[in-house]
Symmetry: C2
Subunit: 230 residues, 2 copies
DNA sequence: TATCGGAGGATACGGCGTATCAGGGCGTTC
DNA sequence: GAACGCCCTGATACGCCGTATCCTCCGATA
């Protein structure tokens, strides 16, 4: 269990006083630069020029630090615009943008309940912007949009990484991967799948995200309308 | 990059011959019992009564093993029923059921492109069942359903774990968590959020999942109809 | 100035993924 | 049937991780 509120240890007058915030910022810096697996308490401590065990005066556990990192990013996520549809659309879009800026977020998002101050503030902003909507509908609706966004950005980042991994190493992609799929399709075991891949439209990442989001919002719209009619 | 096809090392006549499959089954057993963080190559090797390094004759890396674990579970996921809506609904439902049976899957699903044989077979089954649908629409539609399911089950499992963690330790929940939220709401900083939590309907996990899925399928239905009209 | 408390850092422990290497059992070849 | 050589196998080891423990030293207090 995360302790969201933790009194800062009383400060002696030291330059560059350590703090939860500085620790979290350092961790985010490492994660942005080299991915989540580059985040270790030892490396964070080194960046802050401090012994590893110092950090335990500010955080209880590495998992807590990860929660704090996620919460820090939630500070960037706010809906904008007028009307419930635009609010939800912009909520989804800014979330996606935050994940693009912090790819490691794709590994963490949705993995734990988010109850930190910034996540709650995001929730408040969303609820405030949706105050016209039926109070019984708003929670499932927001949950649905959140769920879609979480899954969509995870898949998107997963694909991006795979492309990058093989792109950095064009050789590997050529020699290991493409032939595998071609061989697999050539076996004829997956005719319907092969047909869709061959004949279907290929949307890029933006279009795919927006198409799925549009489906969801259309469905929500039908529900909202139905309710407004009663 | 995962090597999905790997020739089994030629077998000497040994009882209980090692194999990728036995390794993956052992890993899944450990993960089912004690969670993903209980899966280590050393423990798997111990279960199989083998030295840790033996495993490297069958898998290249631990990440590859995790991919194989996920792919193995994909073997259980198949859509059923008639009509695109029922196909997609059952696809979502069986995926959710698989995650319930293997909670660790919530940590991995969507985290990497799934191109293993069972994932492809699932794709084939889905595409075959949707063969009436516009070939250009089917990929975005399936992607949207997958994204929703991934996000929804992650959130669901995350909540379940949090409840379990505090439930096992009723004390902690009482002394650490509930008061935090109450205090937080009592500050009045989140009035709209507090109002929704106070006044809104509270759906259980099943209802929440199905409500969100219904939104999405309704939106897809509108799209499919619109297209059929042209 | 003497005492005390607590913060800070060094050290250590157990576990991890995996590289390396020596040894030995087996199939192969003369 | 004997010698050879290869590869499978297990042992050992390395570097990293999260974090428990403990000791030291410093600053505040009496």
């Amino acid at each position: 269990m995360v302790v969201w509120e933790r009194p800062e240890p009383p400060s002696r007058p030291v330059l560059a006083q350590l703090s939860r915030e500085r620790i979290v910022r350092a961790a985010i810096g490492l994660a942005d630069a080299d991915g989540l697996e580059a985040v270790s308490l030892r490396k964070i401590a080194a960046v802050l020029d401090v012994g590893p065990m110092r950090l335990y005066g500010y955080i209880a556990t590495k998992d807590e630090l990860l929660d704090l990192m996620v919460d820090a990013v939630y500070a960037e996520i706010r809906p904008a615009g007028d009307g419930w549809r635009e609010v939800l659309r912009s909520l989804a879009e800014t979330t996606r943008k935050a994940v693009h800026q912090h790819e490691w977020l794709a590994d963490l998002i949705g993995g734990r309940p988010q109850l930190g101050p910034h996540a709650l503030a995001r929730g408040e902003a969303v609820m405030a912007a949706l105050d016209g909507v039926d109070v019984d509908a708003v929670m499932p609706v927001v949950a649905a949009v959140d769920a879609y966004v979480i899954g969509a950005v995870r898949r998107e980042i997963a694909e991006r990484r795979a492309e990058r991994a093989t792109g950095m190493d064009e050789q590997q992609w050529q020699v290991a991967f493409e032939p595998y799929l071609q061989r697999t399709f050539a076996t004829g075991r997956f005719p319907a799948l092969a047909a869709v891949v061959r004949d279907g439209a290929h949307l890029d990442a933006d279009q795919t995200f927006q198409a799925g989001l549009a489906f969801l919002l259309d469905g929500i719209e039908a529900h909202v309308r139905r309710h407004a009619d009663n």
